[in-house]
């Protein structure tokens, strides 16, 4: 084999390896973004999803002791029960949007590994008296204990 051929063959091997690495990487770590209706339509257990929807009112249960969190995500058509272990993130609240990452479990709920609360980056001029909530918090915390 000529030197040029050898080099080309070496290059081809490297490119093929890289192609395989990327292909395997994508197929193993691709995460689909779905809505509750899309998930309910064809749930595949064990597959990774990003599920986005609104946290249904009255559905949030959090047990600080065991860090068990459960709630319902809805898109108005279908709703999905989500379970998670950990603290709810800061922006997480009923009636707000949330995106959860995790898998569909065989028992018929969504097991979330990560919760991302959605928030807007819109600029709002601070309304007068808006920080009042914090003042309240300050007061309760400063009470002699």
């Amino acid at each position: 084999m000529s030197r040029r051929r050898k080099l080309l063959a070496g290059g081809a091997v490297i490119v093929a390896t890289l192609g395989y690495l990327i292909y395997a990487g994508v197929s193993q770590s691709v995460v689909y973004f779905v809505t509750p209706s899309e998930l309910k339509a064809q749930p595949v257990s064990g597959k990774a999803y990003r599920l986005g929807g609104m946290v249904a009112r009255g559905s949030v249960r959090w047990e600080p002791r065991s860090l068990a969190l459960s709630f319902t995500l809805t898109d108005g058509v279908a709703s999905v029960q989500v379970r998670h272990k950990g603290t709810p993130p800061d922006l997480f609240a009923e009636g707000r949007g949330a995106v959860v990452e995790g898998t569909w479990s065989r028992e018929g709920y969504f097991r979330a590994s990560t919760i991302l609360a959605k928030h807007s980056e819109e600029y709002k001029a601070p309304a007068p008296g808006a920080p009042a909530g914090y003042q309240e918090l300050l007061k309760t915390l400063r009470k002699p204990q």
Partner: protein, 652 residues
């Protein structure tokens, strides 16, 4: 008045940049020195005008002039003094101002340094740099003007993004942008080489130190960014493969490839086409990085249409690539390099392989970063590949690179003989194998960790071997024992600067391996007096307190940490509530150690202070990432010093 003056300054500077770029090109073609002088004066005027624009912006920040939208969006009356100045580069518009200022400064340095020395390239370099400058000034005029007005004028501004109120955020963008803009100089020289047809080794020798300096700043920027992510964001890590991080990492990877491949061209006159391609890619990625980090474009293809800045940047990147690769094609027949690869077992081929791997890594990162956009555009399906993708694909690439780092510098040029292999590798390979066995006996059971650490030891052994030989050679030629190491470093600063960078990378690799393999995390809700056990630490919750700071409200938890051996520390992680933010910001408390860090993040809390949720991380060996980074930048700084060796005629 500030907006009017600002707009005027930017507008005039833009006009001058266009004028200067064209005039310099005409000067190059006609050879009339008056034209060149005129372009130089234009460059000086542009610099002064940009400084003026910056001064106007800073004074607007300092006087709380909320009639400027940019000021209103990025500060408020509570923003501390220093952060009011650095808020200048807190968002897209001001970052572009900073970029232009640096580029204008670099242009002046190029004028001073190369006006006489590189008479052939210089006019074209000036023309290209002013052309790039013109683009950034154009962006500042309309699509992303920092001088846009805000009506009605608000009583108070929104405030700086609280995450940016950190010393890391003062220095990180500056370092990163010095790197991004620094790449422009080698790029401009490459273009000049293509235009003039002098595509030999001259443009590479002329810009060698510029490339190292740009690489130094990019590395420093990445390092500070990682540190910022670690101690501000409160997720316990330093690198998340976030698009913003990837944006800075890609030009670093191709820049690293370029730094290595130019050595082959200088030495063996090979790879001319490849080096030109690499410098074009690096510059393109630096532009892409600037655009990504500040535009938030990657959340969805649909946000593309929201701001015109996206179209502007992509258009310019396309134009640059078209122009550069067009020139490359035009000069195609002259690019056949005189040198040839002699053997597969040679330093050239090791460097070549290193280049392929680095470019492959850059490509993977690029692919993963834009994958969500691609998928949404092509298939209409929203998908993403997260950190697992990047880790999985890059891990084999980076381990191979680590291996090559040991092999490459000690292989002989042209053709490595059996003798050369035995002389340089017998001892390091043995050491590496012994180290692997040692780590296994020590109880390291992760195959990956053993492999990575053994590779580190192997490479360290090759470097030690080379360094000790260098010292012995100096002693033989009359150096004293204590003077020899210093002389060696200074006399061959480029070679040994490179080795020190490699050592730094090894130390970083130890930190990454350790933090990936052995870190612990725990989370618990604690009532007062209760403890969380993590690793060898007991973290006891003692109480909650609240305080009001200049621009936010702060709730601090007090925790007493005991561990079996070292007694007690009191740690105080907090949450900060900014009126302008919908979400509280975690303020991490950490104790840093060479072996491990203890890292506490305050979570949810009861308002009466009776209980809190706390996240604790024990991060192993992470400190070595910062130490390695420091070593790496020191090495780069050494390599950037002027070459002291007497010039070897043929090699240059």
């Amino acid at each position: 008045m500030i907006p009017e003056f600002g707009y005027a300054a930017i507008g005039v500077a833009f006009g001058l940049a266009c004028y200067g770029s064209v005039t310099a090109a005409l000067g190059a073609r006609t050879g009339r020195p008056a034209l060149l002088r005129s372009a130089q004066h234009a460059a000086l005027a542009i610099f002064i005008l940009i400084v003026l624009a910056m001064a106007l912006l800073i004074s607007a920040f300092l006087t709380f002039d909320f009639s400027l939208r940019y000021v209103a969006m990025n500060t408020n009356r509570g923003t501390p003094f220093y952060y009011r100045i650095t808020a200048l580069w807190g968002a897209l518009e001001g970052s572009i101002v900073l970029w232009s200022w640096m580029l204008a400064l670099y242009t002046l340095i190029v004028i001073v340094r190369y006006r006489r020395r590189q008479a052939e390239f210089y006019p074209w370099v000036l023309s290209v740099m002013l052309g790039v400058l013109a683009f950034f000034l154009l962006v500042m005029t309309v699509p992303a003007s920092p001088f846009q007005r805000m009506t009605p004028i608000p009583a108070d501004g929104r405030g700086l993004n609280p995450l940016l109120e950190d010393t890391g955020m003062i220095t990180h963008p500056v370092a990163l942008y010095l790197g991004f803009t620094g790449v422009t100089v080698p790029f401009a020289f490459a273009m000049a080489a293509l235009i003039t047809g002098k595509i030999g080794e001259e443009w590479i020798s002329a810009t060698r130190r510029w490339t190292i300096a740009a690489w130094y700043f990019l590395s420093l920027g990445l390092l500070i960014g990682g540190w910022w992510s670690y101690h501000v964001l409160g997720w316990g890590g330093y690198w998340a493969w976030d698009p913003v991080e990837n944006a800075a990492f890609m030009p670093w990877l191709t820049g690293t490839a370029f730094l290595h491949s130019v050595m082959i061209q200088e030495r063996r006159r090979m790879l001319r086409l490849w080096n030109l391609t690499l410098v074009i890619l690096t510059f393109g990625l630096a532009l892409f990085g600037t655009f990504l980090t500040r535009s938030g474009i990657l959340s969805s293809v649909h946000s593309f249409t929201v701001s015109s800045i996206g179209a502007f940047f992509l258009g310019f990147i396309a134009l640059v690539l078209l122009f550069a690769f067009g020139l490359l094609a035009w000069r195609g027949e002259h690019l056949r390099a005189p040198g040839e690869l002699d053997s597969v077992l040679s330093r050239e081929s090791a460097f070549l392989l290193n280049n392929l791997l680095l470019v492959a890594a850059a490509f993977t990162v690029f692919f993963g970063t834009i994958f969500p956009l691609l998928s949404e555009a092509v298939r209409g399906v929203k998908v993403s590949v997260g950190a697992p993708f990047f880790n999985r694909v890059n891990l084999p690439l980076f381990l191979s690179l680590l291996f090559l780092m040991g092999v490459g510098p000690l292989l002989a040029w042209r053709r490595a003989s059996r003798e050369n292999l035995k002389r340089n590798f017998l001892w390091p390979v043995t050491t590496g194998i012994v180290a692997a066995a040692f780590f296994f006996v020590l109880g390291v059971r992760s195959a990956l960790a053993v492999l990575s650490l053994a590779l580190v030891v192997f490479v360290a052994a090759t470097i030690t071997l080379d360094f000790s030989r260098g010292i012995r050679a100096r002693i033989r030629t009359g150096d004293r024992l204590f003077a020899a190491p210093g002389n060696l470093l200074l006399r061959q600063n480029r070679r040994y600067g490179g080795f020190i960078v490699h050592l730094g990378i090894l130390v970083v690799a130890v930190g990454i391996t350790g933090s990936q393999a052995w870190s612990l995390q725990g989370e618990a809700t604690l009532a007062r007096g209760e403890t969380l056990q993590i690793g060898r630490y007991q973290v006891r919750f003692d109480g909650l307190s609240a305080s009001e700071e200049s621009n936010h409200f702060k709730v601090t938890g007090t925790f007493t940490v005991t561990n079996d051996r070292h007694g007690v520390a009191v740690m105080a992680p907090a949450r900060k509530f900014y009126p302008q933010e919908q979400t509280p910001i975690a303020s991490v408390d950490y104790r840093i150690g060479l072996k491990e860090d203890l890292y506490l993040v305050l979570g949810d809390f009861a308002q009466d202070g009776s209980h809190v949720t706390i996240k604790a991380h024990v991060n192993r060996l992470i400190t070595w990432i910062w130490i390695g980074g420091l070593i790496l930048t020191l090495g780069a700084a050494l390599a950037v010093l002027p070459d002291r060796r007497p010039h070897r005629g043929n090699a240059r």
